[in-house]
C-alpha cells in the first residue's frame, strides 16, 4: 500500500535521507527504529507529503506522493498521523478536535461528525473527557485523542512518529494498548518507536535506520533473532539492556 523507492532528501548540503527503499502492505504493521537524528521523523513525514523529497518515488495506493500534481490534501485526509508532541488544537475542546477534519475536510454533517467523534473517544477510553480542553488532559490522554482524531477520517493507514516518547512511563501503556488494538483490527500502520515490546507484539517488519539510510528491513523474528548489521545489534543491546 505504501511504497518508497530510493527516496533521498537533502537539507542544503546535508543528506538526511539516503536512498531509502521500503514498503508497507495492506494490514501490515512496520516499526521504524534507529538512533536519534537518523531521519526517522523525516522519512515518515514524506509518506503524506509533509516533507518533500528530491529523489526517488513514494506511492500510496495509486497516488504518487512526490508528483507535483498530486492533491496532497486529499491524500492526507486518508492517512492518519500521530505526532510525538500530540499537537492537539489547544483552542478547541477534545470533541471539536476530533470533529474538525470530518467537518472541514470530509464535509460531514455536524451530528454525524459528533456521533463518530464520541464513538472514537469511547474507543480510546476518553468518552468522559469530550468537553475538556487538551491542556486539561494528561499526555497519555492527549495522545489517545490524537489517535481518535486520525481515526475519525476513516484512514487507509496510520503513521505514528514516536507517539510515546514524550510521555511519562505510567502513561505509555495506555497509548500502546490503543495502538495494539488498532493493529489487531487490521489497520495498516507505520510506527516510529523505540518500544521494542510493542514491536515484538504486533509488528510484521522492523526497519532500522542510521544516518539517513535504511540499514535493515527484516521480519520481526529475523530482526530480533539475528540482526545482520553491527549497528542494529549495538542499537538493540543499548535499548534492550535495561
Amino acid at each position: 500500500m505504501i511504497l518508497m523507492e530510493n527516496v533521498s532528501k537533502w537539507y542544503g548540503s546535508f543528506q538526511v535521507l539516503n536512498g531509502c527503499t521500503t514498503s508497507v502492505s495492506k494490514g501490515e504493521v512496520v516499526v521504524v527504529c534507529g538512533p536519534s537524528g537518523s531521519g526517522k521523523s523525516t522519512l515518515i513525514k514524506t509518506v503524506n507529503g509533509l516533507e518533500t523529497i528530491q529523489e526517488g518515488k513514494i506511492t500510496v495506493e495509486e497516488t504518487i506522493v512526490s508528483n507535483r500534481k498530486t492533491n496532497l490534501n486529499q491524500l492526507r485526509s486518508r492517512i492518519g498521523m500521530v505526532f510525538q508532541n500530540f499537537e492537539l488544537f489547544p483552542h478547541m475542546s477534545v470533541l471539536e478536535n476530533v470533529k474538525l477534519g470530518q467537518m472541514k475536510v470530509l464535509g460531514r454533517a455536524d451530528s454525524e461528525s459528533e456521533n463518530k467523534a464520541k464513538l472514537l473517544l469511547d474507543r480510546v477510553g476518553l468518552a468522559d473527557h469530550a468537553a475538556k480542553f487538551p491542556s486539561q488532559l494528561s499526555g497519555g490522554q492527549q495522545q489517545r485523542v490524537a489517535i481518535a482524531r486520525g481515526l475519525a477520517m476513516d484512514p487507509i493507514a496510520m503513521l505514528f512518529d514516536e507517539p510515546t516518547s514524550a510521555l511519562d512511563p505510567e502513561m505509555i501503556n495506555d497509548v500502546l494498548d490503543v495502538m495494539v488494538e488498532l493493529a489487531n483490527d487490521g489497520m495498516t500502520m507505520m510506527v516510529v518507536t523505540h518500544e521494542m515490546g510493542f514491536a515484538k507484539k504486533v509488528a510484521d517488519r522492523v526497519v532500522f535506520m542510521d544516518e539517513g539510510k535504511i540499514i535493515e528491513d527484516a521480519t520481526k523474528d529475523d530482526f530480533f533473532g539475528s540482526p545482520r548489521s553491527d549497528r542494529a545489534q549495538q542499537f538493540l543491546s543499548k535499548i534492550l539492556s535495561y
Binding site: 513525514k45 503524506n48 509533509l50 496532497l72 490534501n73 486529499q74 491524500l75 492526507r76 485526509s77 486518508r78 492517512i79 492518519g80 498521523m81 505526532f83 508532541n85 499537537e87 492537539l88 488544537f89 489547544p90 483552542h91 474538525l100 477534519g101 472541514k104 475536510v105 470530509l106 480542553f133 487538551p134 491542556s135 486539561q136 482524531r149 486520525g150 477520517m153
Partner: protein, 239 residues
C-alpha cells in the same frame, strides 16, 4: 507673573465642545487607521509566514519600507509629495477636491505605517503557534487556507492580544500628529483653547486626563476580551 487658575473654563461654552469635538476626531482617526492597520497587517503577516516565496517577499519588503521611515516623514510625504507624483488630474483631485484631505491623509499614513507593525505581531504570533500545529492541520487534510483559518490564526490572535492592545494605544497617541497637517483633533483643540483663553495648564491637564481615560477604557476592554477568548493552557506572548 501671576497665573489665574480657572478650571471652570473647561466646562464653559464653547471650550467644552471644542474638547468633545477634538476627542471625536482623535477617536475617528485612531479607529479608521486601526481598521486599515489590522486588516492589512493581518494579510501581510499571513503573507510573511506563507509557503509561497513571492508572498513572503512582498510582506518583508512592505515591512522594511514602512517600518524604517519615521511616521512624521511618511505623513508629510503622503500629504505634500504624493499628490505631486500622481497624474495631473488625480493630483489636482487629491489637492483640491478630496474631502477632508488632512483627515484622510492621516488615516491612510497612520494605517499603512501601523500595518507594518501589526504584520510583525501577527507573524510572530503565527510562528509561536508553530510548525507542529501547522503540520497537524495539514495531516488531517486541511488546505493551507483552512489551516490558517481554523488553527493558526485563532491561536495567533489569542497569543498577541497584549501587543495588539499596545499597538492600538500607539495609534491613538500617534493620531495627534494629524495636527501637523491641520487636523484639529484633541491636542489641536487643546492648543486652540490655550490660544483663545491663555488657560494652557487647565487645557492640557484636561487633554491628559481624556487621553488617560481612553487608554484605561481600551485596556479594560482588551482585558475583558482576553478573558472571553481564554482557553486553558494558552501560552501568552512576552510583552
Amino acid at each position: 507673573m501671576q497665573y489665574n487658575w480657572d478650571w471652570g473654563i473647561l466646562f464653559r461654552d464653547p471650550y467644552i465642545w471644542w474638547l468633545v469635538d477634538g476627542l471625536q476626531w482623535t477617536l475617528t482617526i485612531a479607529i479608521c487607521a486601526w481598521v486599515i492597520a489590522f486588516c492589512l497587517g493581518s494579510i501581510l503577516g499571513i503573507m510573511r509566514t506563507s509557503i509561497n516565496p513571492y508572498l513572503r517577499f512582498i510582506g518583508t519588503a512592505y515591512v522594511e519600507l514602512f517600518r524604517n521611515v519615521p511616521l512624521l516623514v511618511q505623513l508629510f510625504l503622503w500629504y505634500f509629495v504624493f499628490p505631486e507624483l500622481l497624474p495631473e488630474e488625480a493630483g489636482r483631485w487629491v489637492k483640491r477636491e478630496m474631502p477632508m484631505p488632512g483627515f484622510t491623509t492621516t488615516v491612510l499614513a497612520l494605517g499603512l505605517y501601523t500595518a507594518s507593525r501589526l504584520c510583525e505581531q501577527v507573524r510572530s504570533g503565527i510562528e509561536a503557534v508553530g510548525i507542529g500545529q501547522r503540520n497537524a492541520g495539514r495531516a488531517i487534510g486541511l488546505s493551507e487556507t483552512k489551516v490558517y483559518i481554523h488553527i493558526l490564526l485563532p491561536n495567533a490572535y489569542r497569543i498577541i492580544i497584549a501587543p495588539l492592545t499596545s499597538e492600538f494605544l500607539t495609534i491613538f497617541k500617534n493620531s495627534s500628529l494629524a495636527l501637523t497637517i491641520g487636523v484639529i483633533e484633541l491636542t489641536g483643540m487643546t492648543r486652540q483653547i490655550e490660544e483663545y483663553t491663555f488657560q494652557g495648564f487647565e487645557a492640557f491637564t484636561a487633554a491628559t486626563v481624556i487621553y488617560s481615560l481612553v487608554t484605561f477604557t481600551v485596556m479594560g476592554f482588551m482585558l475583558h476580551l482576553e478573558k472571553r477568548l481564554y482557553v486553558p493552557g494558552m501560552i501568552a506572548a512576552e510583552k
